[in-house]
């Protein structure tokens, strides 16, 4: 995280790792007092809080930033089309043979990206252009806690409705895996007792994993789609909520 924070130029990922390392101890586990677990002395709890917060911010602001996610998606789309052509490997995928795999580098992919972006008829031309010329899809919808009350997967529902309205090719949906923050570690308090970290720290007790959910759209359709979504969102979610319940009854 310190490396990523430094090289992305954001301060979110920084925390006092020297203090944290100084305070790390092998302590009895919260689950079973006869089992050892990695914990900390109480003096290190603020550094542990800073680590947990840094991790939370790095995931929500860097690793799962919408622009990073959509570039990931454009790259996947490009690779799928480019590899399917079979110029690099037969079989339409990357090689699973170790030697061949190790001989494939970023250079081959970057060169193919540039060639595809310059050639209208090349496989993966559209995705390559979006990366090379920075014409990436834009965020149409992001998860909102009030929508969760209506439907369990609002992003998926909006993506599906938007794909029907604007076409499959104009919509991308991204729901990265939730990364929880490990807060279940033992802490040795100043009076020598062992306690779970969340009973010592109110910050850790309140820190929830962040669920991230984005629907992206072709930038040329963004304005129209935003207007459409503002008018239709509630109705889409309500119809989907009804279908969700009916699906349960089938």
């Amino acid at each position: 995280m310190l490396r990523d924070s430094h090289h992305t130029g954001v301060a979110y990922g920084k925390f006092d790792h020297y203090r944290l390392i100084d305070e790390i101890r092998i302590l009895p586990s919260n689950e079973s007092p006869t089992e050892p677990a990695l914990g900390i002395e109480e003096g290190g709890i603020y550094s542990a809080e800073a680590l947990a917060l840094a991790r939370y911010f790095m995931f929500s602001q860097v690793y799962y930033h919408p622009i990073r996610l959509i570039y990931d998606r454009h790259l996947k789309d490009f690779l799928a089309e480019w590899l399917a052509k079979g110029d690099l490997f037969t079989g339409g995928t990357f090689s699973t043979k170790i030697e061949e795999h190790l001989h494939t580098t970023d250079n081959e992919v970057n060169a193919a990206l540039l060639l595809a972006a310059r050639n209208l008829n090349a496989a993966g031309h559209d995705s390559a252009c979006r990366i090379v010329e920075r014409k990436h899809f834009h965020v149409l919808y992001e998860r909102n806690p009030s929508d969760i009350v209506l439907h369990s997967n609002p992003g998926e529902v909006i993506a599906s409705a938007a794909a029907k309205q604007f076409g499959e090719k104009a919509i991308r949906y991204s729901k990265p895996k939730i990364k929880d923050t490990a807060t279940d570690f033992p802490v040795k308090t100043r009076d020598g007792r062992i306690a779970p970290a969340i009973s010592v720290s109110h910050v850790l007790a309140k820190l929830k994993p962040a669920a991230i959910d984005y629907v992206f759209i072709d930038p040329e359709l963004l304005r129209t789609a935003e207007k459409w979504l503002a008018e239709e969102r509630k109705k889409i979610l309500e119809v989907a909520a009804k279908e969700e319940q009916e699906g349960d009854r089938k």
């Binding site: 969760i148 279940d184 669920a211 349960d248 009854r249």
Partner: protein, 185 residues
């Protein structure tokens, strides 16, 4: 079972375990889910491996995170001497009301698991769940041989405790038969 219905079954199990006095830490939920799936035939589709404290599923851990992120469960400290507990939020009840058929189909099963495991501690659950793992995955049929296998896999469990856990699992399996048949229609 789709991921949303699976989450509903998990939320129901968490609610029942709490109602029946379980500590409801992660280990309790892991073992209860294992028993619900493997003994009572709930089609939750979690992939379990034999881990440090017995059967464990990384997918169950992911679903715990998902339930926290979606506001279905909260983490609380019942006693600072022990690990945290996962308790249902008021929204969990609203969520469960969306899936009446799934709740109805799994209610008796979840209640059975909670009634039988709710009072167990982590060590009890490790023994019982591992004994069930052996019963389901091993070709060994005799109770004594399964108890020996349990000691081989978990050397800190004594022979008499292993034999008792194996016997407890056989009793549970016998008592759950009607529910398993009901679950399969």
């Amino acid at each position: 079972m789709n991921p949303t219905l699976r989450l509903a079954v998990f939320a129901l199990l968490d609610k029942e375990m709490n109602n029946h006095g379980s500590w409801c830490g992660e280990t309790h939920l892991q073992k209860a889910t294992f028993v619900l799936q493997e003994l009572l035939g709930a089609k939750t589709g979690y992939d379990f491996i034999l881990y440090k404290y017995g059967p464990f599923s990384f997918e169950v851990r992911d679903d715990i995170s998902l339930m926290r992120a979606n506001g279905l469960i909260d983490v609380i400290v019942r006693d600072p001497q022990y690990g945290p507990s996962y308790v249902p939020t008021p929204f969990a009840e609203v969520f469960l009301q969306r899936f009446p058929k799934t709740v109805e189909a799994h209610h008796a099963q979840a209640k059975f698991v909670a009634e039988n495991l709710g009072s167990k501690n982590v060590s009890d659950l490790e023994r019982i769940a591992t004994a069930l793992f052996i019963r389901k995955r091993s070709k060994v049929k005799s109770r004594e041989r399964r108890a020996e296998e349990l000691v081989r896999l978990k050397p800190h469990i004594s022979g008499p405790d292993a034999l008792q856990a194996t016997k407890d699992v056989d009793v549970l399996a016998e008592r759950s038969k009607a529910l398993v048949m009901h679950a399969h229609g």
